[in-house]
């Protein structure tokens, strides 16, 4: 179990109805965050996870002190 702070942007923040939250996840990796987002907010796996401002493409080990952010594609212009 790991307790981490996650920041949300764009439509992710809209679906979560918050810009930041502290979550508890069983596994210390980014896939566990994606699973949480899918289960809790119905977010698709296509959202991007950033660990300490680096967007990761595969399951990455995280620590409770890491800065986690969730991004999604923006469409407007």
């Amino acid at each position: 179990m790991i307790r981490i702070t996650v920041k949300y942007y764009g439509e992710v923040a809209e679906k979560a109805q918050k810009e930041e939250e502290i979550i508890n996840i069983e596994e210390s990796n980014t896939q566990a965050i994606l699973d949480y987002l899918k289960q809790t907010y119905g977010l698709a796996q296509e959202v991007k996870v950033a660990v300490n401002l680096e967007l990761v493409t595969s399951a990455t080990t995280i620590e409770s002190t890491d800065e986690i952010a969730i991004l999604s594609q923006f469409a407007g212009g």
Binding site: K48, E54, L71
Partner: protein, 358 residues
């Protein structure tokens, strides 16, 4: 008379010398930089909120040739953010109005109007005539088209996109750097444009100004270009972050692959596997044969734009009609409305009826 002419031409020369003096005064620009700016060419895709913010600054800076691609006309709902347009311009072609205003702003710049929407047939040939491409569009599917055409034509492109008060800016395919597909490999199943999410003119103007700034840096070869980084700016609380991402190594794509990928997706009914799918019948209700199933939604093509709320954006949509023509039109409407996972069925209603029976 001769003296008068000499005097006037001197004045013109003086004006030209003065015109760019403030940007030439920068040690990073100077005379050499101004020559680079004059020699550069930029193609702006989209003349909406971002385009109207990018274009005047590129024109003012004295970029040699600027192309504008947009098939749309000015409408009243554009005016709060698309500041190149006035009330009198409603109903006129955006590229035409913009070209007139921009030529009046700086007659030294060659403005090329392309009064069409970018598509699979014109993207690569257009891109080949410019140094830098600016993505000032407002739909996700078109961004993949721009990306893939830029990769084939070997051009960098400056991207910006908004969600309400937040802006993402990045530069893709710059000096063999990452592309849009490295950042977002697959299109989001749904995402809101400014039409549905709303936007302030000031937010989109900031996005366009950031894009123009990246263009200038690339032309001048100064500063750090946003390649391999996406800038996320929240204009509501003035915070910004830069997220880095890596290049995904992919096999080079051919022009044939590009054409196939960006032409309307067609599949056979027998290939439909997903349980999360719906069938969209765009015929009139009385057309035969009737296709009834719990997964079928009937919306005549003419009513599609006003009935989008009936079509779930999180499911795969398989469109059909009587001959296939209306399904292609419906596909384009949904594509423009940011539906990302839809297909035209190869089979039409009569064949589907037979397949459903079997």
């Amino acid at each position: 008379m001769k003296l008068q002419f000499y005097h006037n031409s001197q004045e013109v020369n003086m004006q030209k010398e003065n015109r760019y003096i403030r940007q030439q005064a920068l040690p990073q620009v100077g005379n050499k930089g101004q020559i680079k700016i004059r020699a550069a060419s930029v193609l702006v895709i989209g003349c909406g909120g971002l385009g109207c913010a990018v274009l005047p600054y590129l024109v003012a800076a004295g970029i040699g040739k600027i192309g504008i691609v947009d098939g749309d006309i000015v409408s009243e709902s554009n005016l709060h953010r698309q500041t190149l347009f006035s009330e009198n311009d409603i109903g006129s072609l955006k590229v035409s109005v913009a070209a007139d205003k921009l030529t009046a702003q700086n007659s030294e710049v060659i403005i090329q109007q392309i009064p069409k929407y970018l598509d699979v047939t014109n993207a690569i040939s257009l891109f080949e005539n410019y140094d830098i491409i600016v993505d000032a569009t407002d739909r996700i599917p078109i961004r993949y088209l721009i990306n893939d055409a830029c990769v084939i034509a070997d051009k960098p492109f400056v991207h910006a996109a908004l969600f309400r008060f937040q802006i993402q800016v990045s530069v893709f395919n710059y000096q063999n750097g990452p592309t849009y597909r490295c950042l977002y490999p697959k299109p989001a199943s749904s995402s809101q444009s400014c039409d549905s999410a709303g936007v302030l003119g000031t937010s989109v103007a900031l996005g366009g100004a950031l894009q123009a700034n990246e263009v200038m840096k690339m032309i001048l070869g100064i500063g750090t270009v946003l390649s391999g980084k996406v800038l996320l700016n929240d204009t509501l609380n003035n915070s910004s972050s830069q997220f880095t991402f890596r290049k995904r190594v992919e096999k080079p794509k051919s022009r044939t692959h590009f054409t196939n990928q960006h032409t309307i997706n067609k599949v056979s009914f027998t290939e439909v596997e997903s349980k999360e799918s719906i069938f969209l019948d765009v015929r009139f209700p009385k057309e035969k044969p009737e296709i009834i199933s719990d997964k079928t939604i009937g919306i005549p093509l003419s009513q599609l734009n006003s009935s989008l709320s009936k079509i779930p954006s999180d499911k795969e949509i398989y469109i059909f009609c009587q001959t296939g023509k209306r399904s292609e039109e419906a596909y384009k409407i949904l594509q423009n409305q940011n539906y990302n996972t839809m297909y035209c069925l190869i089979e039409n209603a009569a064949e589907l009826k037979t397949l459903l029976k079997s």
